[in-house]
């Protein structure tokens, strides 16, 4: 008697495993090398960062991070010597380049803007998306198919095509360069994705659960909250990641519509280059820090993300 389970799938041969493994490793390398390069550059000194041939082994330095978080002014060596002992690691580093720290840079406020706008718009898109997906899934909505198509159609043109009208509208409405404006914009872009993804997930939850809860004395909203939502968490998490990644990385609209108080990190990071030579380590440091939140969020929700990607491929 064999103890194999009733799988009809033939186990992959050693050869095909080898080929698959090679492709995966190659792809992983292609994806990860630029990230590793950025990470390495962020710990180089500016001369090391532009050395040719490129330096693989180098003396790590925090100069990039110091430059990222500060603004500096050039001074004469006599003036710097007259200042007395350095007040910290960064102070010491910049003095070696004949500079003194003038104050904090705009990176932190821009980074906080990114956090507020990305998480704010993700929350709004997922909230609206969940409710509308539930409505489309459970109720007879007149013209439901046309409405769903309309929602999807907002994704069919390149968003930049509407950049000029949105720019003019935002100026008129006073939404230019405001966090609220950016949250509204990213929510509008993401809500179509959220509705479609979540409708798929909610369709899979049998409606008997809410019906049972409603017979047991709950209102529809309570039934939704207590029975549908807990079972839709996987779908909601997967949708949230997709929305967050879009809003976090979005560059074109952010560059166009924000310049000061509401500017996000993506349009800000390239501007670092211009300040006093091509400061690649500072740009790399900004990029490295910029990657952290999305990395943490994705690692925390990786199971749900995987389920979101393979969604619909496997039937129970």
């Amino acid at each position: 008697m064999s103890l194999t389970t009733a799988h009809s799938v033939v186990a992959p041969s050693a050869n095909s495993k080898l080929i698959a493994g090679t492709i995966i490793v190659a792809y992983a390398l292609i994806s990860i090398v630029p990230l590793l390069w950025i990470f390495a550059t962020s710990f180089k000194t500016p001369p090391d960062s532009i050395a040719y041939p490129p330096k693989i082994v180098f003396q790590p330095s925090l100069e990039g991070y110091c430059n990222l978080f500060t603004t500096r002014t050039r001074q004469t060596p006599e003036y710097i010597n007259s200042l007395g002992p350095a007040t910290g690691l960064c102070d010491e580093t910049v003095r070696k380049r004949n500079m003194v720290i003038a104050g904090p840079s705009n990176f932190m406020p821009r980074f906080v803007n990114s956090l507020i706008i990305a998480f704010g718009s993700t929350f709004c898109a997922v909230f609206l998306g969940t409710l509308s997906a539930y409505g489309f899934s459970r109720f007879k909505v007149p013209l439901a198919d046309d409405l769903l198509f309309f929602i999807l159609s907002t994704r069919m043109m390149p968003p930049i095509a509407v950049a000029i009208p949105i720019y003019l509208m935002y100026r008129e409405l006073g939404l230019s360069d405001t966090a609220l404006g950016m949250i509204l914009l990213y929510t509008a872009v993401n809500v179509s994705l959220a509705v479609w993804l979540l409708k798929g997930f909610i369709d899979e939850i049998p409606r008997e659960y809410e019906e049972a809860a409603m017979i047991d004395g709950y209102t529809r909203l309570q039934a939704f909250w207590r029975t549908v939502l807990p079972q839709a968490t996987t779908g909601i998490a997967a949708t949230a990641i997709f929305c967050l990644i879009f809003a976090w990385n979005e560059y074109a609209f952010a560059a166009l519509l924000t310049s000061g108080t509401a500017q996000t990190a993506p349009p800000f990071i390239p501007t670092i280059i211009g300040e006093g030579g091509q400061d690649w380590p500072a740009v790399a440091a900004g990029t490295t820090i910029f990657l952290v939140p999305i990395l943490v969020f994705t690692i925390l929700l990786r199971k749900q993300l995987l389920r979101g990607i393979t969604f619909g491929a496997v039937r129970k």
Binding site: P206, E211, I215, D216, G217
Partner: protein
């Protein structure tokens, strides 16, 4: 507990009429089964009683109160779904206590009620388990627990045993009936399985194409089917039909089928000449060479205590249930003797049963 009364209930989905003009009453404490093939409207009827579906017309009364247009949560009923609808994110205890939580009952009281219920269903050892690890029968018991914990006016069950293995199903049929005998809850149970219906029901409604074909006790439905559909749907193998022509006169006690005279229960109404059918249950056929009604053995199914014998007659194959000891060979010619007192007569056109002495005897027995 309460009685359920359904009056002229109708449900249409666009052009499709799922339920038409249904009328029945389930008395307080009765176990009522709606039986019929899939798509006959039995589940739709149940969902209308529950308030999950609103009727197109008609009335639903629960304990004398008109609840036709009330929301499900305002009806004080419990529903057991075919797929149980146990919440996977809650353990057994929370699942059973869920309806009580809706009422805002204090948690100590919920705890006590849940434990009483679990003990009644013999699942108290499972209370802290997750529902996803439970076996089919235990899931069924948890679903029942969630229904009875609230002590509602009535229970509605939609094919609750449909997904269980045959072995479990027989066990649960027994358990369900036993539970009913203990708590006497008014129950409406929907199934397409006649075995479940016959073994559990106090009353059965047989439905087809949105119409209740017959409403009665299991015995009435089996012995005196009101239509050819019921006669054919109930019984395994189903009732045999042999066609005959000519009208029937009130008081006649004999008909002619395939040239053979067959004694039947006394006819109690006049029927104009039309295509008719004689209905015979398989167990009311004996082999008797003296009979003029003849056929050839076509095949046999041996069942241990009895055997089902298919006999080819001039009017198609009919099946007889005879003792297992009789030795028969395919192709043998046999005479068929029918138990006259148990035969049914039908009008083939309408499918309706002809009134005979059987029906009157039943009425007399009930009133006498």
């Amino acid at each position: 507990m309460a009685e359920i009364r359904v009056e002229h209930l109708r449900k249409a989905f666009g052009d499709f009429v799922a339920v038409q003009d249904s009328n029945f009453a389930v008395e307080d404490g009765e176990f009522f089964v709606m039986l019929g093939p899939s798509g006959c409207g039995k589940t739709t009827t149940l969902r209308m009683i529950a308030g999950l579906e609103l009727p197109t017309g008609g009335k639903i009364l629960l304990g004398g109160e008109d609840v036709t247009m009330r929301r499900a949560r305002e009806r004080d009923i419990a529903f057991v779904f075919q797929l149980f609808a146990l919440y996977p994110h809650m353990n057994v205890r929370k699942n059973i206590g869920f309806p009580l939580l809706a009422q805002g009952m204090p948690s100590a009281e919920i705890r006590q009620r849940v434990e009483e219920t679990a003990k009644l269903l013999r699942i108290d050892h499972l209370l802290n388990k997750s529902v996803s690890g439970l076996a089919g029968g235990d899931r069924q018991r948890v679903a029942l627990g969630r229904a009875i914990v609230r002590r509602p006016k009535c229970f509605l069950m939609d094919e609750p045993l449909g997904t269980l293995d045959t072995e479990f199903r027989d066990l649960m049929v027994h358990e369900l009936r036993e539970l009913h005998n203990r708590i006497h809850a008014t129950t409406v149970y929907v199934t397409h399985d006649q075995m479940e219906a016959m073994s559990m029901a106090d009353k059965i409604a047989v439905m087809n194409h949105g119409v209740i074909e017959q409403f009665g006790t299991p015995r009435e439905i089996y012995d005196r089917p009101a239509t050819m559909f019921v006669a054919d749907f109930i019984g395994s193998p189903p009732m045999n039909f042999l066609g005959f022509g000519g009208g029937l006169a009130k008081g006649s006690k004999e008909i002619v089928v395939q040239g053979a005279k067959v004694a039947v229960p006394e006819v109690r109404e006049d029927i104009a000449p039309a295509a008719m059918a004689l209905g015979i249950r398989p167990e009311h056929i004996r082999f008797d060479d003296a009979s003029k009604l003849r056929g050839a053995i076509y095949g046999t199914e041996y069942l241990g205590t009895t055997q089902i014998v298919a006999v080819e007659t001039a009017d198609g194959i009919i099946k007889a249930r005879v003792p297992a000891e009789i030795r028969l060979n395919t192709g043998d010619h046999v005479g068929l003797a029918l138990s006259s007192a148990r035969l049914s007569l039908f009008d083939k056109g309408s499918g309706r049963a002809v009134r005979t002495a059987i029906h009157d005897a039943a009425v007399e027995a009930r009133h006498g």
